[in-house]
Structure formats: C-alpha cells, structure tokens
Amino acid sequence: MTEGYRRPELVCPAGTPAGLRTAVDAGADAVYCGLQNETNARNFPGLNFTPAELEQSIAYAHARQAKVLLAVNTFPPAGRFELWREAVDTAARLGVDAMIVGDMGVADYAAHSHPQLRLHLSVQAGASSPEAIRFYCQEFGIKRVVLPRILTVPEIADIHSQIPCEIEAFIFGNIGMMAEGRCSLTNYVTGLSTNMDGVCSPAADVRYEEDAARNLTIKLGPCTIDRFAAGESAGYPTICKGRYLCGAQPAGYYAFEEPVSLNLSALLPDLMRAGVTALKIEGRQRSRAYVRAVVSAFRRAVDAIMAGNDPGLAGLLALTEGHRETEGAFGGKTWR
C-alpha cells in the first residue's frame, strides 16, 4: 500500500534554540526558524535566533542528520531592504539547508548573490496555482513550494503534476483564514503589518476586559474581537477568528472561521499520494512540551504509514486550539 510513497520530510517549528533541540530530538527531519527581527513572519518577543544561536543550532541539527530551514519570508519595505539582505547573507554564510522566501526582491537577491543557497517558496508568496509556482521556479530556481492552506487534496495532486519543484504542506497547527501574504487586517487595527513587520495579532495590542458579571471581552487594539460569558473558554484574539454582527445573521457569528486548529492527520496517506513530500507543523510560538508531543506523534505516524501500519494519531486532538479541529480546505470544497 505504501509502494511508491516517497518518505516525506517532517518539517517542524523551532521558536528558540531549546525548541529546536526538542524538535530534533523528537524526530524532526527538518526544523524551520527565523532571526530575531522582522525578516520572518513570527517576529514575536522572546522568539527566534541570533546568528550565533543559529550557527550552534545548525551544528546540533546536522550532527543528528536534521536539516535547518531559515524563514526570511516577510516583505521588506522600500528603504529598509538592508536588514533582509543581511538575513540572506547570514543564511548563506552559516550554511542553512534552505531559505524560505516570500518576497520577489529577496528571492532575486538570494538567487543572484548566493546561487548555491537552496530556496523554498514561503506560503507568504501566495502562489496557489501551477502557473504562479512555475513563475517563481523559473525566475529564482525555487526547489520547493509551501502551499497555501486553501487547497483540497485533489487540487494539490493536480498542482503536483504541473510544477517542477517539491511540495510542502501544512498538516497541523494554526489555520489562518486569509490567504497568507495578502492580509493587512492586523495593520488595519494595530499599525503593525503582517507582511512588513512579521506580526499577526501582536500580544502587546491584545486586551482582556472582564465586567462585573465576569463576562470577558477580548480586544485587539481598540476593536472588540469576541465576547465570552463567565466560564466559557476564550481563545487568543485574531481578527479572522472573531465574532461579528451582520444584517444576514441573527446574532454574533464567526464571520470568517471558528477558533479551530488544522489537523490533517487522517489525510496523511492521501497527501503523500498527492505528491506532498514535506509535511509541515505550524507553531514556532508554541511551548517545548507542545512541540515534543506533536513532533513525536507525527514521527510515529509517518513511520507507521511507511511501514504499512495504522498511523494512530487520535491523541492529537487534545493539543488543538480550543480542542477543536478541522481539515480546512484540504478536506473538500464544502469548506469554501
């Protein structure tokens, strides 16, 4: 049954050097991480790597046959390209196994200045069709595309047959509702841009306000994102998972998506058959305990599938957001 499967690479999040070691020890084939600035899309306080930490972490991973991928996947605003140029040079100098890029200018610089540096196309590039992916491959020598979380499995298979590069797909973790790299909602509310500053729903702008009856209002900047009655579990406020009012609905409703996490564990064999050769777990901002649990579970699952056995991933539900999960677009067109 597993004949013809290529053993997929398990690509795991590393928010910190300790997190990287945890993911590698738990069985990651590759880890992805970012520098401590806005050159990556998880530019959160207390997260990410200094160049020295990255160098040590690469040594740790390579000693254990794991790869290190550096995300330089935000969009440098004009006048500030230098910071991204330095990040690319750092990636090349330290010998990362690949750099994940989103911006055409950054990709162009990397392809010209460091032709030996392997490039992966970030989900931030928003390349969701074979033609778009081919454009990036042709222009920048992209070796792998990270597909947006908006495609069904048959659509992924269709794309696979029409592009000259590998496919990496998200299988677990946060599910953004908006097309990545094409969302200014956080900037609209906070003045910090997901594309340029690498932040989505920054913690510094989040407020939890409790009234006398212990009802909780959660806000991002001045905007009310959701409300919860006393005792209800409240999620982290992101605009695309908030509740709103509109004329077509009788009460507050999740206009974009409910606070759920992506869990494609049941679709792993289908994804592998569709040509996905790298399975990505989201969550550089997550704890080491979380990373250890998720990476170990998927390590066992992938190994089981390759051995022709049942992957057995039932326990992962406890780790999903609000203990609720979805297969998102991957499961079929009714999601749209």
Binding site: P77, D103, G105, G126, E139, I150, T217, D226, A329, R336
Partner: protein, 310 residues
C-alpha cells in the same frame, strides 16, 4: 485655456469595480464614466470572484469601446486569488488579449505577461525597490502599490521607479482591500458556501457590513475579499504623493456618484480645490462611513489624520 493631459500634475484613474453590481448598472456606470469622468485610465475586469466574471462578459466589448471613444485608456485587471481551474482559465484568457494593456494581480498573470508591457496591480506584493526593478525587467510599466504602504516606503519606491522610467499608482479613494481568502464570506453570512452562493453578494453594492459585538462598524465583506468599513481618502496627501513621484491616483468605484468623486480629486490634484474643501465635498456624498488614511502615516489603517495637522 484648457490644459492638455501632459500638463496635468498626474492622472486620475478608475480601478476595477470590486463589487458584484447588476450587469446593466455596471455597463451604464462605465458608459457614464466614459462620457463624463475626468479620468485618464479605466481598469476593467473581475478581480475578486471568477464566478462573477461571466455576468459581465457580454458587456466588456461595448464598455471598452465607449471608454476608448471617451479618450480613456482601458486596462484589463486579472483575478487576484487564483486557485480553481475557472480562475486559471480567466487569467489565461485576459492575458491573451493583445488589444489592451493587462494589469497582473497574482503570480500566474506574471508568468503569462512576462516579456511584454503590462501593469502590476495592488494585489501583487511590490514593497521594495528590488521587487520593482525585477518586475520592470519582466516588462512591468506601471505599479499600483499595496494599500498598506506607508509614505516612508512610497517615497524611496518612487525614486527607484523614476530611475527605471516606470510609473507608480496609489489608491486614494474607496474602501481598502484588506484580505483575500479561498472561502466566500458573503456566502457564509447567508449560510451557504461558495459553490451554492446564488450570487448573494449582488445585494451589497458596496460590500456587506460587519459590526463588532459592541455594535461599532468594522469591516466590509465582498465575496472572498475583506475590506475596510471606512473609505480611504488621500485628498489631503495628493500634493505630497505627487511630489514623491506618484503620477497616477486611483479611485476605487463605489455606488456613490463617481463622476463627482473624480471631479473632486481632479480639482484637488490641480490645486483648484483645497484638501479641506475636497474632503468636505466627499463627506457630502452618501457614503455612510468615515474616512481613513492611517496606512499612509504608518498608523493603524482605520485611523484618520487631518491633512492640515501634519
């Protein structure tokens, strides 16, 4: 003496209609624009939802001809979110047109248009000089910037554009496109999905209002697109934008009187109308939403900085 186009300090342009208007109203809107609006270029085409495009196809030819007869340059804009077979077919057929310039709004259009003159739309992420230079090398002649670009980045980008002899365009009026998705939120609001939407978006010519749970208006849903509730208004920033090197100023169409909007912006750009008078005149339109210009100042996009205050 009447000014010729070449002497005008920049062009007023009309972006594509982003909403699902009734096809006949859509046609009549463009006929009126062709005959009366002081705009130099008009962008046509369905950029939001491939399902809608078929509704307007019968009228494209007549509309494009009328616009050309009215002295307007017609540019066809491609779909912004390209996933499905139908999406891809539409991009392919739009890009195959040789009688008109095409504005690319995603990577698949870039592939199709490379090597011949074309425009870059606001849904392609051009944030910096290197991206602009790269795309100019592929044939791009005009760049309409992403709406979240602050003045601090527009300025150096304009300098780069000038050295490459390409033009920069900035949206100055209308609801701000903030996000795209594969899911249709218009259908979702009505308990449907994209495949069974029955074009419910046609009931909201300026988008479906979303309010926060405390009742304050927040966003506008337009199919798979999420937009600002407020209307971008950079009437007060026209002179500064022009001084930076922006030469094209885009109005995004709404159901209000767009001839009037175009006349206001033309007058403001010519210095015949003060920014405060322009804003007062725009405020008199039945928009039902406040103005914003926060992105320009590097502040939250919804915020408003009075031009006189900076």
């Amino acid at each position: 003496m009447e000014m010729t186009v070449g002497e005008q300090p920049g062009d007023i342009t009309l972006g594509p209609v982003l909403f699902n208007w009734k096809p006949e109203s859509w046609r009549d809107f463009y006929f009126r624009i062709a005959d009366e609006a002081p705009v130099t270029a008009v962008y046509l085409g369905e950029t939001v939802c491939s399902k809608r495009a078929v509704l307007f196809e019968p009228y494209y030819e007549a509309v494009a001809e009328r616009l050309a007869a009215g002295g307007k340059t017609v540019v066809f804009s491609t779909l912004s979110e390209v996933v499905l077979k139908l999406d891809r077919k539409q991009v392919e057929s739009t890009c195959a047109a040789t009688d008109y310039l095409v504005e690319a709004n995603d990577g698949s259009a870039l592939l199709a248009l490379q090597g011949r003159p074309h425009h870059i739309g606001p849904f392609v992420n051009v944030y910096n000089e290197r991206t602009l230079s790269f795309l100019a090398g592929k044939g791009a002649r005009n760049f309409c910037l992403p709406p979240e670009m602050p003045a601090t980045a527009i300025r150096p980008l304009c300098a780069a554009a000038k050295s490459l002899d390409v033009s920069v365009e900035v949206q100055v009026f209308g609801r701000i496109p903030l996000a795209l998705s594969a899911r249709c939120y218009h259908a979702r609001a009505h308990g449907r999905i994209k495949d069974s939407c029955q074009f419910v978006c046609e009931n909201d010519p300026d988008g479906l209002q979303l309010r926060m749970l405390d009742g304050r208006p927040f966003l506008a849903v337009n199919g798979i697109q999420t937009m600002s509730h407020d209307y971008l208004n950079l009437a007060g920033e026209l002179a500064e934008l022009h001084a930076m090197g922006v030469s094209r100023f885009r109005l995004s169409p709404h159901s209000c009187d767009m001839i009037e909007v175009a006349a206001i912006f033309r007058a403001a750009l010519d210095g015949r109308m003060s920014p405060s008078e322009a804003t007062a005149r725009l405020q008199a339109l039945p928009l039902g939403a406040p103005f914003s210009n926060g992105f320009y100042y590097g502040k939250p996009g919804f915020s408003w900085t009075a031009a006189a205050a900076h």
